[in-house]
Symmetry: C2
Subunit: 608 residues, 2 copies
């Protein structure tokens, strides 16, 4: 190194050293105490997580064992709930997940009374009598109301309860997205009219009937529930579950029209139920009388939130399609898959940020991704995304069902009320019957393959409740009435999954519904171990060729089909005919921009 | 219904109704306040998450753009960090993620002084002056020490900081597992001796030299760091990063021996660094003098934790292999994949619960899964698990690098100290040079393809720091010295990733290291867009046939290879020869039990 450089470096170093300053020594003892506490909590977290993972391992093994030996009355969801119940019992009575904590009573330092819960408390703690005090901040945990009577200095906390935020932000989106992404397009769209009728009319009727019936009964017996709370209960309990019955259906290879009706209803009515619940919940509690204006504004709000979310999700899906079409990102499957997953999750978050409903958005994003983006992706990304969402949604479902079982014993937010449970069970089946039979009768007036009576019974019977009902009930449990509703929902989920799920295959036999080899199908449903796979295979085999138009019934669907074939598909995918063929000549320049090299090559036009 | 049945039902119902009781009406106003607060926090969470997801989308797109246009000096990790820095800046100066909170000072109600932070505080809140008070519980957030001077009644909180628990329990395990699962077995095991020397001797030397050097310098300038803190810093900063340089290496198809050395070192020394950090950290702070006994016990503890975790992870991996071999779960790929993922995560949790190190356990579990379980799985599960862990680890890595950038602006746990940073940068490169050159010289005495000088320079140069160093530094930031260390670590990660990562390809040219078509390989490294894929392809192509023994050097490895071929592989996989051939005749019954039908069929013995 030359002397000049050396000098420059020395000056540089000197300047730095002038800035050198000592660090304050830490408050050692307090630091150690905080660290010990953090370690204890970490240990607890891992023990609980390990318990859940071990149970899931046992569930997977038992599920395999039952499948292997063809037990028909036991299925995964039911099994998972039963294991969850056993584990919950174990946690409660063998004291797993316990943590000895200290609680002290505090007063505001300025001695005033508080009228609203603050976000943080500041408290001084000293290392010893001489040392300087250190301030600690404490944050409020939502909904954690304490019982006034228990003044235990050494309280023992059970830490097995999860935050509902985790359900809504982490576990539910992949399940719902997967439902949309692996939709059997052909059978679904053939029955779209009936499905939409079930979803919109059915769910609303079910919500109102359940709520009003229960309101009547509880008024008679003076049980003190507000009408609003019961309507919220009606809305959340209307969400039927797409997991359990369908695993039975696909295993038995049930008639595809029935399959499409039941799957379509349960996949979409989760979305309606969540919007309905939020709409009713946002009504002011203080107004006891419900007038026409507030009803109308609620209905408008419902429509705004539902269709806003639907459009948002579809737009995000179409953006992904356009991006994968116009860039050559398919050359890098890892980046392509990452982009796909990130966009799909962004559709959920974006809707939540805009105060719409993420679940609805992610469902329709999934449908668009399957319809458009899927065609543009590389072979590798196709299989990766299919399998990725399939496995993630399987694990999330198993975890939720397991947790539903555990929560019975562990949750602090559940208050049991047997009479209310009994009334609820009656009400929900009455409410379901009230819309299934009349609606089918109405639909059968114009529907060409009519819905026969045994299908109607089966649709009624397939009204299982699952993850979404639980998550909605668990989300808000601040008042006692809501805690009763939460416990009732848990009980209904467990009972319907165990009983209806367990005897579904027997019911199919009993109702003389065709299944297995009795069904003569254009596309044979292959025997496979899960719903998703069966759906996949069918989807793969049914490409919508112009000759076999599934939309050959109503005016609006036919219009949409034409728009899709002439504009959306050429714009968003590599499929031919391209926009150059379907758009008028005056738009030539724009059409050319949105036409990919692959589309040009297919038409015999050499690309630039 | 018959009268008798009606009567029975009436009595049943009556019994229930006797149990009917009213629910208490909720404290409406407080309930609404709590709900509003929960909604505000949820909104904030989704905004922050959406910001991160959007940045990741932009990163993926830019990464594709740069790859597509062959920019060599910009790579994903560096790009991700730069975006993270920009977003952090945006969050700080455009006030994203702000939340207006209320803080009140409190005193213990019995007026006594506190000497340890309690877990919960209880505070009474009234709806109005007449109403009954409701108790709220507040929980302590770890390490959230407040500054005494700021007595702001309306404090504004920035909520963008993540808990280190998320890094350790959620984001790191898949990255480390994927490193083990997609290990290039052939080249890795050919260089195992040199790699282990780098990992054990190298990391320890680097830790000690960095710590002692910095201790000397800070004593001279009176900066008040404790030796223990500096040794912890030395340990955590010794963890080199397997992501950045290797993406450059695999893109350039660098000579496989060098690739194996650098990858092997960086994959395994994360594990050593974490155990070393914990060991030094658990030393009592109060004992200033370090005697031989405590050193010995620390060394023994280190060995116990490291090899305990190693053995635990391997056992879990072997259990999975045995399970997939002995059951026919491969018929149900979904269940098989789920089992695989759950077992792999369980190996992490199990080690943490037993106070071992989950990261080491999950790494060796991954190696065992690749070596044994992979052979038993169905074709579908193989590709699903490969792709699943690949994409999860890619997303986790991107997220961590992005967060490292963001944390510079957002984190409350970082205190910048420029002179210390300067000294640290010098120390870590001196420490790395101190072990690389002597160790290579020692190894070259017996090593057959010697490590040439230009490889040694490249190994020195490849000492990038990454996610693990950051996570370890971010975990404990209770004292000011530790906050300085955290900030320094962040700076070193950013500088090494940007500078060393950016000029790596130029350095390879400069050092005249063979790459691309210059390398004559037995197995050609295909051009692909990621490390994992390149590793995968190679692994697929190299089946260890007995003729090509890669362990042809030392005594111990040769013994292990024979044991693996004669006992472990026949026991744990469907590979032939089976245990019936390799075990003595007296063990026939046991051997028969562990021999699968497929193995029997291959040998021409008809199964039962």
């Amino acid at each position: 190194m030359r002397p000049a450089a050396l000098l420059r470096w020395s000056i540089f170093l000197l300047l730095f050293l002038l800035a050198a300053h000592a660090v304050k020594p830490g408050n050692e003892q307090l630091d150690k105490a905080a660290q010990r506490r953090a370690e204890a909590l970490h240990h607890l977290d891992t023990v609980i997580l390990l318990t859940f993972i071990s149970v899931l391992i046992v569930i997977v093994l038992t599920a395999w064992f039952f499948k292997h030996n063809r037990f028909r009355f036991v299925h995964e969801s039911g099994l998972t709930i039963v294991y969850g119940l056993m584990i919950g019992c174990g946690i409660k009575y063998f004291n797993i997940g316990l943590w000895r904590s200290t609680t002290i009573d505090v007063l505001p330092s300025n001695k005033s009374s508080l009228y609203a819960p603050p976000d943080f408390l500041r408290l001084e703690v000293r290392e010893d009598t001489k040392a300087q005090a250190v301030s600690f901040h404490y944050e409020l945990i939502e909904g954690f109301y304490a019982d006034k009577k228990k003044t235990s200095e050494q309280k023992i906390e059970q830490k097995t309860a999860f935050s509902p935020e985790i359900f809504f932000n982490i576990l539910l989106p992949p399940i719902i997205f997967n439902a949309g992404y692996s939709l059997k397009k052909r059978n679904f769209f053939r029955n779209i009219g009936s499905i939409l009728a079930f979803v919109f009319v059915g769910t609303t009727v079910s919500c109102l009937v359940t709520g009003l019936l229960l309101s009547m009964i509880t008024k008679i017996f003076g049980m003190g529930f507000a009408l609003q709370e019961l309507l919220v209960f009606g809305a959340l309990i209307s969400a039927t579950d797409p997991v359990t019955v369908l695993s039975v259906f696909s295993e038995m290879r049930v008639e595809p029209d029935l399959f499409a009706l039941v799957f379509g209803e349960s996949a979409l009515n989760d979305a309606v139920a969540i919007v309905l619940t939020n709409t009713i919940d946002s009504f002011s509690m203080s107004t006891e009388t419900i007038d026409f204006d507030s009803l109308l504004s609620a209905a408008l709000n419902f429509l705004y939130v539902f269709f806003g979310s639907l459009i948002l999700g579809s737009i995000v899906g179409c953006c992904t399609a356009l991006l994968t079409k116009l860039t050559a990102i398919a050359d890098h499957p890892l980046l392509e898959t990452a982009l796909f997953i990130l966009f799909s999750y962004a559709s959920f978050l974006l809707a939540e940020v805009l105060h719409l409903t993420g679940i609805v958005s992610v469902l329709f994003c999934g449908i668009c991704q399957a319809h458009y983006t899927f065609n543009n992706m590389s072979e590798e990304s196709r299989s990766t995304t299919k399998q990725f969402f399939h496995i993630i949604s399987f694990l999330s479902e198993s975890f939720i069902f397991c947790y539903i079982g555990v929560s019975v014993f562990v949750s602090k937010n559940q208050k049991w009320n047997l009479p209310f449970l009994l009334f609820s069970i009656c009400s929900i089946w009455i409410a379901r019957a009230v819309f299934v039979y009349p609606l089918c009768a109405l639909l059968n007036i114009r529907r060409r393959p009519k819905i026969p009576m045994n299908y109607q019974h089966m649709i009624l019977f397939s009204g299982l409740r699952g993850a979404m009902a639980f998550a909605l009930a668990d989300r808000n449990t601040a008042t006692e009435a809501k805690q009763v509703i939460c416990a009732t929902t848990v009980a209904i989920v467990i009972l319907t999954v165990l009983i209806n799920g367990g005897v579904a295959s027997w019911m199919i036999d009993r109702l003389k519904i065709k299944y297995g080899d009795q069904v003569s199908q254009e596309v044979t449903l292959p025997r496979s171990d899960s719903v998703g796979e069966a759906r996949e295979m069918i989807e793969g085999a049914t490409s919508t060729t112009p000759g076999q138009n599934p939309w050959d019934k109503a005016f609006l669907p036919r219009k949409w089909y034409n728009f899709d074939a002439c504009f959306m598909k050429p714009l968003l995918t590599h499929a031919n005919p391209s926009l150059l063929d379907t758009m008028p000549n005056c738009m030539h320049r724009i059409s050319y921009f949105f036409t990919s090299d692959r589309q040009l090559a297919n038409e015999g036009v050499s690309p630039l």
